[in-house]
């Protein structure tokens, strides 16, 4: 008899047993068997590697400046990771963002809005995430877009069905992350002063959040381990 058929019979027998129990015991002969089962969940464990330099603090930047940091992501779990999404949140904490007007633009341009929000400030920074050794980026947007979620970044470039970062001790991906304070020399109307001056002296605390997702559920019926 093939295993399939044996299996079918086993289920039938189990079902019959249940109905017999429901109807009360009337036969003296019986037999009891047991099976031992283990349902062990795997672990999904994304690790932002030690070599990662995304915990940067860079102050006193001027428009046009840029810097490159390294991001190392590894899979320390037993389950394959499907996708890794990155977004950012704005943090409070010491020296949190506040609107500054170092050049007193408000008095120089009455009637013109010289204020800005933290989102405006973050929109001045372009962030590009590129797998090491490759030329094509997997994310290209602004820090503001990473915060607002309009440009949620998926870093592994895998589809819903593909493994983005396989399980295993040697599985890791390294990215070059370039952040640039984009220069914008648009002046205020009738003046030589650039509008970007309204961001002078401001700074923003950010948290980069990386989320790893599991692979889709699979039919594991044929997985057998003794």
């Amino acid at each position: 008899m093939s295993i399939k058929k044996k299996m079918g019979l086993g289920i039938m027998a189990g079902a019959l047993g249940v109905s017999l129990i429901g109807g009360g015991t009337w036969a003296a002969f019986n037999d009891v068997e047991e099976t031992s089962n283990t349902f062990a969940a795997g672990t999904l464990d994304l690790v932002v590697g030690e070599a990662t330099t995304m915990d940067f603090v860079v102050k006193n930047l001027k428009p046009g400046d840029y810097f490159t940091k390294e991001l190392v992501l590894s899979n320390n779990g037993s389950l394959d990771i499907n996708q890794i999404n990155v977004h950012a949140t704005m943090e409070e904490g010491p020296n949190k963002w506040e609107d500054k007007d170092e050049l007193d633009l408000a008095s120089k341009f009455p009637g013109v809005d010289t204020t800005n929000s933290q989102e405006d400030f973050l929109s001045q920074f372009k962030i590009t995430i590129t797998p090491q050794g490759e030329t094509e980026s997997v994310y290209d947007g602004t820090l503001e877009e990473l915060v607002s979620g309009t440009g949620v970044g998926e870093l592994t470039d895998s589809t819903d069905q593909e493994i983005g970062l396989a399980a295993g001790p040697n599985s890791q991906k390294t990215y070059e992350v370039k952040v640039e304070f984009v220069e914008d020399s648009t002046p205020f109307s009738g003046s030589r002063l650039h509008q970007q001056n309204k961001f002078q002296g401001e700074s923003s605390n950010l948290k980069f959040v990386f989320e790893a997702t599991q692979m889709p559920g699979q039919d594991r019926s044929n997985n057998i381990s003794e």
Binding site: I3, L46, F56, N60, D65, Q124, L206
Partner: protein, 293 residues
């Protein structure tokens, strides 16, 4: 235990699993990791200060031909970013042509002592004798004189040659022609040390130009620049009218408000490396030449 029975229960558990899929998120496992970061913009801020107790504005009335005045302006970087250069321009001229219209006004009825003239003609009477940068002296080797006294550049030449936000139409409204503007540019830019001309904007760089750390107005090392401007109301006795009065009399009582503007500019973009940083601050941006070509 036989394989058969294990399989039986295995099939049951699969059914239970399916019911979970029906009611909730099927990708339940995820993992979140995060890192903290901070970006901060610096400050670029130029301040014009007095040197000693001297004034920085030319606010002088009751001038007569032959008078001259010198102002020394201290260019001070009060920001956190190095200033690459400071571009000087004459942005605007508000001219008032004197004409006495009541008996009480000086010169009423005596047309020898006043007359009609344009702003440009008036400014032509003033020679910008010296514009000296780095007047504070110190380690040098850089050229001090931007407009040498021998160049005979007038305020009118300077105004016409200078780029301005208002543009050339403003100059034409003040009595200039396109030919005059063109001639003034030739005169001014041929008589000025070429290194001090910003090609892109027809303006003078009035901060020091050195090949080293002193260029412009760095924050480190601290280096104020003193800019000296001398203006002379040139006496002209050569041209007289038939009755012996000097031509220059038509300028009597005239006045002009001139706006000198100084634009401080940043250095270009820097590729910031760890070696540029100290305690999270880009120290290199406080110094001259803080740009990546």
């Amino acid at each position: 235990m036989s394989i058969k029975k294990r399989l039986g229960l295995g099939a049951m558990s699969a059914v239970m699993g399916l019911s979970l899929i029906g009611t909730g998120t099927w990708a339940a496992f995820n993992d979140i990791e995060s890192v903290q970061a901070k970006v901060g913009a610096g400050e670029l801020n130029l301040d014009l200060k007095q040197l000693g107790n001297g004034p920085i504005d030319f606010k002088i009335s009751n001038l007569k031909p032959g008078d001259h005045m010198t102002r020394t302006i201290k260019l001070d970087n009060i920001g956190s970013l190095a200033i690459k250069d400071v571009l000087m321009s004459i942005e605007g001229v508000e001219f008032e042509n004197y004409a006495p219209d009541t008996v009480e006004d000086a010169g009423y009825g005596d047309t020898d002592t006043w007359g009609d003239n344009t702003a440009i003609e008036y400014l032509q009477q003033f020679k910008v004798s010296v514009i000296k940068v780095g007047a504070e002296g110190g380690a040098g080797g850089f050229p001090l004189d931007i407009i040498p006294s021998t160049a005979n550049v007038t305020l009118a030449d300077f105004y016409l040659a200078s780029d301005s936000v208002a543009g050339d139409q403003h100059k034409i409204d003040n009595g200039a022609t396109n030919a005059m503007i063109s001639a003034a540019k030739t005169l001014v830019y041929n008589s000025i040390n070429q290194v001090y001309i910003d090609d892109n904007s027809d303006r003078l760089n009035v901060s020091t130009i050195n090949p080293d750390k002193w260029t412009g107005l760095p924050v480190i090392p601290g280096d104020d620049d003193n800019l000296q401007i001398k203006i002379e109301f040139v006496e002209s006795n050569d041209d007289t009218n038939s009755d012996g009065t000097h031509d220059q009399n038509i300028f009597q009582g005239d006045s002009a408000d001139i706006t000198f503007q100084f634009e401080a500019r940043q250095w270009g973009g820097l590729n910031v490396k760890d070696s540029d940083m100290k305690n999270g601050v880009v120290e290199t941006n406080k110094k001259a030449n803080s740009q990546t070509n």
